[in-house]
Amino acid sequence: MTDWLSPEEWTAVRLSLKVALVATSASLLPGIAMAYALERGRFWGRQALDVLVHLPLVLPPVVVGYALLLGFGRRGPMGSLLAEQFGVVLSFRWTGAALACAIMGFPLLVRAIRLSLETVDRKLEDAAGTLGAHPAWVFFVVTLPLILPGIIAGMVLSFAKAMGEFGATITFVSNIPGETQTIPSAIYTFTQVPGGEGGALRLAFVSVAISIAALWMSEWMARRVRRRFLA
């Protein structure tokens, strides 16, 4: 089993998993906040924010990668700020790959949560309010549990996207084995040389297997959530 993939490929698999998990979990809170703001907020610039969130979907991944490179690279404004103030370096690190994946999956995450948020019965939130719950509590005790299916769906999409994301990642953090070489990057490398198809296929297979596992887990969670209150 282990010799079925080379150690380097195993590294890529582990890294991909790590990147996808970190990307998904790190974008969760901002995703919920963003979805809430876009769906419920009535502030100036909401529409612009909406467009911004969708950009990674609309633009070719390479462009997003370039933008990240310019913004979060060592010499970019955000990159240097982060490095100087917080000692966080993203460029050419796996954290950068996670950022790229998070950003590429963000519109999917936000959309799914918004869609759930739309269908939340505001009357239940009102009811919670009359029972003494401060709006913040209402959000945590009523709204959040009710949008759980959307959150799960969004996380699945974001995770799957992270497992497959390539263009932005390779452009932003390159393809450094052990640091930034994720499964898609490794697959890409294989497709660039003669005789690489086998390796590409093997890795694609692993990627699909991981995603199946993630899908099943999410379906299981969603069913648990739903069984309860839509029985």
Binding site: R75, S91, S174, V193
Partner: protein, 239 residues
Amino acid sequence: QARDVVVFAAASLKNALDDAAAAWSRESGRKAVISYAGSNVLAKQIEAGAPADVFFSADLDWMKYAISRNLIRPGTRLDLLGNDLVLIAPKGSAVQVSLRPDLDLASVLAGGRLAMGHVDAVPAGKYGKAGLEKLGAWNGIKDRIAQTENVRAALLLVSHGEAPLGIVYKTDAVSEPNVRIVGIFPEGTHPPIVYPVAITQDSMHPDAAPLLEFLRSAKARPFFEKQGFKVLNTADSGS
């Protein structure tokens, strides 16, 4: 030094460079980490401060780009490898074309498309366009070209019979059993196909120079030649 030396190399070099780097590791006990991507991406990344010690480009333009932005340590650039440009057809195809001036590819294509790398963006495409222009065939077929993101995709189109003809590197063609080399573009029909390698300006890695030295040594030569590259510039031949 905790960190291994980092090489940014064009993706098409993977097989050869992996083997050569492994050999170097065995010999020196050091390790090289190689990041493969498009030359353009790599150049831009180095510009953005990538931790690359060595840049191994698939064409001259992006090396020149890097040099012009002071990203390369002066005097370290070396035009290490060369390649040939070939016209290919699917294995079963019976087409006969001789790559001479007044070439008439349009009739050979017979409504099909000529697959090649993007003529402005992909090195193999640029070379191919130059070659076709030189042979007088460009104007006749410039609307019949299927441009691909990289040269491997062009190979793919031909090997799967989507395109009756394609222009790729010899290195790609020889290793693909489903295609047949129809002809080789004569020298001089296109700018020389060169794979330059250099140490980056910011690199302070002590292994960078030894690695480069190894790559140009006779010990590395078989790995490149095995993949079909021409080694232009070895330590023995000098430059």
